[in-house]
């Protein structure tokens, strides 16, 4: 994999809007941001595309790159893959068929619900958990930000991650195959586009984990097509003639929906990136060994809280209940899709650990660096104010040892240094007055080399 592909990031900076404040710096869960020359800089190797910075930036300087709707023009046949979160975005609309019908009006030839694929993936995961001996707890691979977090901060848990592709990926594959069969057109002419609540999905498509190449051809933000969908929703629509997802798949949008669909006895769901980090620490300490399956979601309220959504995540969550009442409770899909799902949707590539935040060199060199970091940290004020441009005093100590900053980046250290320089200058000034302008001195008197005498 080429290096620029390896670290492709959808989350990026709009430098014109950035004021170099410390909001994103302090909230980044992987300490991937530094402030340099009054602008935020994202360290590509450390960023996991979770979108926390997008949420907290008061100046909207952090953005998630996605594809514009026009991207669909590049393909002869176009399939929309709406995330179930899309259904929760419109006030007063509790019927997902209306929303799906509106997608056709944006220029799509077909709509394939990602929730349908979620049903297939749930089944594939359950089969794998029952038939294969996996280290417990098995961890979901559905949230791309969590996957990248584990690679970087919890690499010992990579073996626990389920090696089944995400519902988005499965949706693109099934949709293209079905469309190609139904209309007798080659798969290469079909484009599949994810309608996304998630900031990390574009990265997940451009530089996927666990698979060589994604079948998804573009990622379009819910936010970007929202106004157009709103206006189409007012129009009449004819009944849909597509296979529909059931509540089992649609519930994947909400925390615990995936764990319930997988249906193991001992499951856990954690949402919100800080909560997820805490849970991963505990899993690492073997405190959750009795659990079968753990669903971890970077966003509070799961995909409903994704940074590319429009609606408040909590409102979306309560609206989902109304939508579920208008959704078939039983899976209605053809059974062939499920048959070999566990092998067909198996990932093909290993998850590699991301060592970007580790010290480098021989073990001895690393130990020396670590000791130096501890030593420098002791001399810093411990306020974790972020004024130096590093998120914490400890991070500054690491940056100093890495050669990316100096002690003088710390405004308190700088202040101390200025004070000591100033007093040095004062005493220097005082001594020169005696040396040069010593008009009262006559040979034979003791030279006035003592400041106290002067004062």
């Amino acid at each position: 994999m080429k290096s620029e592909e390896r670290y492709f990031h959808s989350v990026s900076l709009d430098a014109d809007k950035c004021r170099g404040c410390t909001n994103c710096l302090k909230r980044c869960p992987t300490e991937a941001i530094r402030i340099r020359n009054n602008k935020a800089v994202i360290i590509p190797a450390n960023c996991i595309d979770c979108g926390e910075c997008i949420r907290v930036c008061p100046h909207h300087a952090k953005v998630a790159m996605t594809d514009p709707l026009e991207i669909i023009q590049g393909f002869e046949y176009r399939i929309a893959l709406p995330a179930p979160a899309l259904y929760t975005q419109f006030p007063q609309i509790h019927r997902s068929d209306k929303i799906i019908a509106s997608l056709y009006k944006l220029g799509f030839d077909e709509v394939f619900e990602v929730a349908r694929a979620a049903e297939v993936i749930s089944y594939a995961i359950t089969r794998t958990l029952i038939n294969e001996d996996r280290p417990r707890p098995v961890i979901s691979s559905a949230c791309p930000a969590v996957l990248r977090l584990i690679q970087q901060k919890y690499p010992s848990l990579l073996d626990n991650v389920i090696d089944i592709v995400s519902p988005m990926e499965a949706a693109a594959r099934i949709a293209k195959e079905e469309f190609s069969k139904a209309h007798g057109v080659p798969v290469e002419k079909i484009g599949a586009f994810f309608i996304s609540p998630c900031a990390a999905k574009l990265s997940d498509v451009r530089s996927p984990l666990g698979i060589e190449k994604s079948a998804v051809d573009g990622v379009i933000a819910i936010r970007d097509i929202y106004p157009q969908l709103q206006s189409h929703l007012k129009e009449e629509f004819s009944p849909l003639e597509i296979e529909r997802a059931s509540t089992v798949g649609v519930r994947w949008a909400v925390p615990s929906g995936e764990a319930e669909a997988v249906g193991m006895r001992h499951t856990l769901c954690v949402d919100g990136i800080d909560n997820v980090k805490h849970a991963l620490e505990q899993i690492e300490d073997s405190r959750f060994d009795r659990l079968d399956y753990v669903e971890l979601l970077a966003c509070a309220n799961g995909c409903l809280g994704g940074p590319l959504t429009v609606e408040n995540g909590y409102v979306a969550k309560s609206r989902l209940n109304a939508i579920l009442r208008h959704t078939p409770a039983k899976m209605v899909q053809r059974s062939e899709i499920f048959e070999d799902a566990a092998s067909r949707f198996r990932m093909t590539e290993e998850f590699e650990p991301n060592n970007a935040q580790q010290l480098t060199g021989t073990m001895m060199e690393r130990i020396l660096k670590a000791a130096r970091i501890d030593e420098i940290e002791q001399t810093l004020p411990g306020l974790d104010c972020g004024s130096c441009g590093s998120p914490t005093c400890r991070a500054l100590a690491r940056d100093i040892v890495g050669g990316f900053a100096t002690e003088m980046n710390c405004i308190f250290k700088l202040n101390e240094r200025i004070s000591s320089l100033a007093s040095e200058m004062v005493s220097l000034g005082a001594s020169t007055r005696f040396a040069v302008g010593g008009t009262g001195d006559i040979p034979g008197n003791a030279p006035a080399d003592n400041n106290d005498q002067e004062e």
């Binding site: 620490e281 690492e284 300490d285 935040q357 010290l359 020396l368």
Partner: protein
């Protein structure tokens, strides 16, 4: 020649700070780029030891040392001591109170778990004097 040496005091009965020492040790190991499987064993073993200090002993001390080829964790307390070491090293044996068990601890896996995770394990205990455990992990 030991280059990194840290010592942590662990308070008896304080579940708020319980786990802080093992978390710091884990962080340091990860920063050092010690293989993930070793870090995992260090953190499991140290966490067990720390919880033992909080629950069974009158608190105690955890010494952490890193040398290029190994990590040494020493856990010392002046608590009640273990009357029957052989029994205590048996899985499932525990003297923890119900209150502690309700918190999810005291399943009697502590000492056997430490031994299983460490590459070398040594324990000395004397009733009325205290317990002294050393765990070594090869890097």
């Amino acid at each position: 020649m030991t280059m990194i040496k840290e010592s942590f005091h662990v308070k008896q009965g304080d579940m708020t700070t319980a786990g802080d020492a093992s978390a710091r040790i884990k962080r340091q190991c990860k920063q050092l780029g010690i293989p993930a499987s070793v870090v995992r064993r260090v953190s499991v073993g140290t966490y067990e030891a720390e919880i033992n200090l909080v629950i069974h002993a009158n608190g105690g001390r955890i010494d952490f040392a890193v040398e290029p080829e190994k990590i040494t964790i020493r856990v010392v307390d002046d608590g009640p001591g273990i009357p029957d070491l052989e029994k205590a090293m048996t899985e499932g044996w525990s003297t923890a109170s119900n209150e502690v068990r309700n918190l999810g601890f005291g399943a009697g896996m502590g000492l056997p778990n430490m031994k299983r995770n460490a590459d070398a394990f040594d324990i000395k205990s004397e009733v009325g004097v205290g317990t002294d455990i050393t765990m070594v992990f090869n890097i």
